[in-house]
Amino acid sequence: MNKTPEQINEELLLPLNSTSWRYYLAVAALGMLVLVGFYAWGYQLDHGIGASGLDRPVFWGVYITDFVFWIGISHAGTLISAILRVSNAEWRRPVTRCAEAITVFSLLIAATFPVIHLGRPWLFFWLIPYPSERGIWPQFRSPLLWDFFALNTYLIGSFSFLLLPSFPDFALVRDRSEGWRRRLYGILSLGWRGTPKQWHRLEMAMRIMAVAIIPVAVSVHTIVSWDFAMALVPGWHSTIFGPYFVAGAIFSGIAALIIVMACVRKLLHLEEYLEPIHFDHLGKLLLAMSLIWFYFVFAESLTTWYGNQPSEMTVFWLTRSGSFSPLFWMMVICNAIIPVPILSIKRLRSKIGWTVLASIPIVIGMWLERFLIVVPSLEQNRLPYAYGTYTPSWVEIGITVASFAAMPLLYLLFVKAVPIISIWELKLGQHEKPAEVAAPVPAEEIVQGATASGR
C-alpha cells in the first residue's frame, strides 16, 4: 500500500460523506431489534424480575452472562491496541481505532446489564458513592462495588484512549466540510491545529495512556471474575478465575475484532487498508489465546477433579456429563477444536474468510463459557434439597439479541461520524515505511522464484 495523503483523505473520509440506502436499511433493521430489547426491558420493569426465567436458586442467569461476555469483548480494543502501541508494532496503525471503538461500545452495552439485572433498577444509583442525608455509603467490601469502580475507570480510560487521537482527524474533517458539519467538527476537534508541541504532547499522552490502560484492562476482567470467585459457591470459589477470565476476555475480544474488521473492510471498501496481513497477525494472537484458554480449562478441570470435593464434583459432572454437557462440549468445539486447526495452518490463516470462520464460533463459544460458569454452579449449590433448574425467558433472549444488535448499530453510527481508521497515524506509518509493514513473501514463492531464475 502506497498512497498519497490526498488519496488517503478521500478514501477514508468517503464513508462520512456518502451514505447508501443499504446503510439506512441496516440501521433501521438493527434499530428495530434494539427496540425489541427496549420493549422486553419495559415489560420486565412492569412485571418485575419475574419476567425473566430466573428462580431460586438460580438467581443469576443470562443477564450476568451477557455482562461478563460484553466486558470480555471490550478487551478486544483498548488492551490490544495499547499492547500494540507499547510494543510499537507498525501493523497496528489501521487497526487501533477500529479496536478501541469496540471497547467503548461493548463497555456501554455491558454496563447496562447490571442495571437490567437488578430487582429494583430504579435504585441503581445506590451503587454510586454520593453523600446523602442517610449518612450511609455503598459497601466497598462488595465485589459489585469493585466492578463499578473498575468499569468506570476502564470506560473513562478507553473513551479517552479513543478520543485523544481523534482530535487531528476531527480537524481534518473540519477542514474538508462545509456548513454545520464544519462547525460541529470544529467543536469536536477542540481547535486542533497541528503545531509540533501539540503533536508531541499528544504522542506523549498516548504513550502514557497505553501504559496505564493495560493494567486497568487486566484488573477489570479480574474483578469481574472475582464477582464469582468471592462467593462460596462450588465451581466459583477458585483462584484461577482472575487470569482465566482475562485470557478468555482477550480471546473473545480478538475474535470479535476480526469479525468487525472484516465487516468494516467489506462494507466501507477498505480492502487496501485492512490487508490480509492484519488478519494473519491477529489470527496468530487468536491461536495463542485459544491454546491459553484451553490450558486454563484443563487446569481448572484437573484441579477440581483431583480435589474430588463432593460439592465441586456435583457441578463438575453436571457440566461434563450432566444436563449441561451438550453446551460444555459445544464450547470446547467452538473455542478449540474448530479454530485451532484453521489458525494453525498458515495458508488458511492468511485468508480473511477463514480467520472470520474461526472467529465466529469463538464468540459463540465464549458466550457459552460465561453461561456455563454462571448457571450450573447455582443450579446445584451445596444443599441437595435446594437444587433447581433454569431456562431463559423470551425477555432475557430479547434483551440479549438486542445487545447483539446494539453493537453493530452503534458501530454503524460511529463510522458515519468518525473516520474508522486513524488517518494521521496511518500517514505517519506511510512516511516512515518500516519493514514490518510489508507482508513476508511466502516460502513457496521464493522457491518458485529460485527455480524460475534457473538456480
Binding site: 427496549f38 420493549y39 418485575g48 449518612g135 458539519r181 448499530l409
Partner: protein, 205 residues
C-alpha cells in the same frame, strides 16, 4: 440524506423511551390486579396491598409527602394546648406503646357537651357524635411503605424526646401539618447526638 443520521438517532432515543413506557401504558395502572414494579403497592398503612397510581408511585420514589391534609374539622390545637391540656390527654398511649391514639368523638364530647357548643366546628363534631360516627380524621404523619420503618412512640417519650422535635410547636397550629421531613437523616442525626443505637434493625424490619 445527511440529516438522516440525526433523525435516526432521535428516533432511536424516542423509540427507546417509548418502548420502555409502552408496557406501562398498555397494561394501565387502572387495573387493580396487575402486578407492577412501581416502587410501591400500598396506599395507606402497612396492610393493604392495593395498586397505586403512577403519580403516587413517583411521589413515594422521591420521598415527597403532602405537607398539609384537609381535615373534616378545623381542629385548633393551639387553643387546647393554651388551655393546659397535655398531648397525652387526647393522644393516649403515646408514652406506652407504638402509636399515638386519635381520640374518638366521644372523648371530644366529654368536654364539648358544654364548652363552646355554638361554634360551627363544634356543631360539626356534635353532628358526627349524634349520628354515632367517628370523625374521619386523616393521617398527617406516616412513612411510605417502601421505607420499611417500624416506629415506636413509647421509647422516644420515655427517653424525654419532646413531641415538638418531630411534630412542631402545636401551640401555634390549628390542624396538624407535617413539620419534619422525617427522612432517615433526621432520625439518624438525633440518634447519633443522643448516643442511642443507629443499628439499621432498630427501625427497619
Amino acid at each position: 440524506m445527511k440529516h438522516g443520521v440525526s433523525a435516526f438517532l432521535v428516533a432511536i432515543a424516542v423509540g427507546g423511551v417509548a418502548s420502555i413506557l409502552l408496557p406501562f401504558l398498555v397494561s394501565g395502572y387502572v387495573d387493580g390486579n396487575r402486578q407492577s414494579a412501581s416502587p410501591s403497592y400500598v396506599t395507606s398503612g402497612k396492610c393493604s396491598a392495593s395498586q397505586m397510581s403512577f403519580l403516587a408511585g413517583a411521589k413515594e420514589y422521591f420521598g415527597i409527602y403532602p405537607a398539609s391534609v384537609r381535615q373534616p374539622i378545623a381542629f385548633p390545637h393551639k387553643i387546647h394546648v393554651k388551655n393546659g391540656m397535655p398531648c397525652e390527654t387526647c393522644h393516649a398511649g403515646v408514652d406506652e406503646g407504638q402509636q399515638a391514639a386519635i381520640p374518638g368523638a366521644a372523648v371530644c364530647m366529654t368536654c364539648h357537651q358544654v364548652i363552646a357548643t355554638n361554634k360551627p366546628e363544634i356543631k360539626k363534631l356534635a353532628s358526627y357524635y349524634r349520628k354515632g360516627e367517628e370523625v374521619p380524621w386523616r393521617r398527617v404523619y406516616w412513612f411510605y411503605p417502601s421505607a420499611h420503618v417500624d416506629f415506636w412512640h413509647g421509647p422516644h417519650i420515655r427517653a424525654g424526646v419532646e413531641c415538638q422535635s418531630c411534630h412542631g410547636d402545636m401551640r401555634k397550629e390549628t390542624v396538624a401539618v407535617r413539620k419534619a421531613g422525617l427522612n432517615m437523616g433526621f432520625c439518624v442525626n438525633c440518634h447519633r447526638s443522643r448516643h442511642v443505637s443507629t443499628d439499621c434493625t432498630t427501625c427497619h424490619y
